[in-house]
Symmetry: C2
Subunit: 357 residues, 2 copies
């Protein structure tokens, strides 16, 4: 099936990504795993966390702050827990390793918790939580971020990463429930797009250098200062701030990266946290999946404010994007295409996105 | 020490609460545990979840939908998991049982997850998470709510409870980090107070019967329709909605109360979920607590927008209320005092709050 105009077949984008990672010195097995997680983001419509990250990864690599063939080790392990060391590379492979270990341990023991230290950007948190749901388990995936972006309630300074939380649970007839959210109101990606286009942003997304709501005036001149989910004290921003701090405890304090020195050129050291729970220890086989269906069907069937915009459940936009992009290809902006072309050129990898079917 | 004017000594309020619960037929040991959790809310400034709930509990009891001497049983148990049945009573004792069992299991195995079914209102979720932090562990406590109050993003109907999430972690020099938040923007209690006072509420807290932002116009005439944390689609309400649904999966679907028939007069059956994690499986003794201090000190020390309002961390308001109320007594509004007097009278319990020191 030829891709629609301006769109790239997923398998061709995967070949480019895998080729670039391999050319950078990533071992073949690691490049295959990392590519699968990068493509997950591109396929599921999470455009800021997929192939568009390659130029950033390249800058870190050139700056010497990203190991391309790190040793990924389990430094501590018990029946239900483990501490994984990412070896100073990208996060996809250590995160994949940790989530699969958590899945195996939870099948054995009922529940498992794994923390990862000395890691890097791992793409979309939902990709890892989804692995648990695909295995019939409940999964949680969180991560800190190298860049401080969230300003505490009452504060002026960006102190916490956008610290995502992903939660997935399996259903019987439905796709899994799949929540994948930053603990900020908006995202660095949306601010970047607004800045590039010279557009104003909604009041509540960011603060200016005086701590006042920023609607675009200072976005180009200051470091991003995102509000926590809730946007303002009146609307509960202390809750989003509290969630971001809780993620910092699980994914930075617990694996021991909070007080680790920053990597040169890459900001803070990144940590992750994964939790997996086997519903078979609580319900008879199939009962949880059946009741998740009841919940999801009930929510989707509830009355919408606008009949043209039905009520959705977490994961619906991502699953719809995946279905559509699998059919018609992955849309890439001209800017991302040019950046990928340059990355391919400097890496000595053929730019297969230009090829015709 | 005499209590300040209009304030009640905590020990006297505890005596009244315990006396009433006992008079309702709650066994002495259960009444003591439930009283401790009810007083936790009153002491920590969570006024809507403490003794002010007694008149509501009384109405449920009189309606025959609240067992006062339920059999609380562990119906399924593994090394890291358990399913507890609350026997159709209040939630405080089954929740206390479940959290203490999770603490014991996590000490043994590293991590433990416990779900509770057939339960009722358990007061402040933070009280249970705090038990884990006091034991040197990381604790999570969630619960569904009998009343549907949160309207999904894009929706019109209240479909989910205010489904709280509590998260606690121990520190060395600091009080524990203690997040205790509803997944709604505001709370039923704040709406009730606004209605009683005839005040308008901020746009973003609730919807009117047409699904539009309600600032007070219809609060008195319609069932409450709270927005999820995030308040509007533009400010990320799909994230708060997703968190509320994730809590519904953990605390209703997992223990099997989602599709259970509603209790007569009390709304939906209530379920809880608890998770405890032993940081000693990841870090050397004392390291986690030391780094939680680094995190909390760093956040509190960051620059405030208004120098008169320093940056706080989750738990600060509750710990300050506890310190102040321990010294000066618990403030009760005239309305709550009158309701408690009536509950004491109909229960045949002396109204000790009138006594002088």
């Amino acid at each position: 099936v030829p891709a629609a105009e301006g769109r790239v077949p997923p398998e061709r984008l995967a070949a480019l990504v895998e080729g670039v990672l391999h050319a950078w010195g990533m071992p073949a097995e690691h490049a295959s795993i990392a590519t699968a997680h990068i493509l997950y983001a591109d396929l599921h419509g999470i455009d800021s966390h997929g192939c568009a990250m390659l130029p950033h990864y390249d800058r870190l690599r050139v700056a010497g702050s990203l190991a391309m063939a790190p040793e990924i080790t389990v430094v501590r392990e018990g029946s239900t827990t483990a501490l994984v060391d990412g070896g100073g590379g990208l996060g996809h492979v250590p995160a994949d390793t940790a989530m699969k270990l958590a899945i195996a341990k939870s099948r054995e023991c009922g529940v498992a918790a794994i923390a990862v230290r000395n890691s890097g950007h791992y793409g979309a948190a939902g990709a890892y939580a989804a692995l648990a749901a695909e295995a019939g388990l409940i999964g949680v995936a969180t991560s800190t971020s190298a860049i401080r972006a969230i300003v505490p309630t009452r504060g002026m300074e960006a102190m916490l990463g956008t610290n995502p939380i992903a939660f997935a649970a399996p259903a019987a007839r439905n796709e899994p429930f799949l929540l994948d959210m930053a603990t900020s109101t908006s995202s660095l990606g949306k601010l970047r797009i607004a800045r590039q286009r010279g557009e104003r942003i909604p009041a509540g997304w960011a603060l200016d250098s005086e701590g006042l709501p920023d609607t675009g005036r200072t976005l180009g001149t200051s470091e991003p200062r995102l509000t926590p989910l809730g946007a303002s004290p009146e609307l509960g921003s202390h809750k989003g701030y509290g969630l971001a701090a809780a993620v910092e405890i699980l994914a930075a304090v617990l694996p021991g990266v909070l007080s680790a020195p920053a990597a040169p050129g890459s900001g803070r050291r990144v940590g992750h946290f994964f939790l997996v729970l086997d519903p078979g220890r609580f319900r008879a086989a199939g009962e949880l999946e059946r009741d998740v269906d009841v919940l999801l069907d009930g929510l989707r069937g509830s009355e919408p404010a606008d009949p043209a915009l039905p009520v959705l459940v977490a994961g619906d936009p991502e699953h719809a994007a995946r279905d559509e992009r699998t059919r018609t290809g992955i849309p890439l902006t001209p800017g991302v295409l040019e950046e990928l072309r340059e990355v391919a050129r400097t890496s000595g990898v053929p730019f297969v996105l230009d090829e015709q079917d």
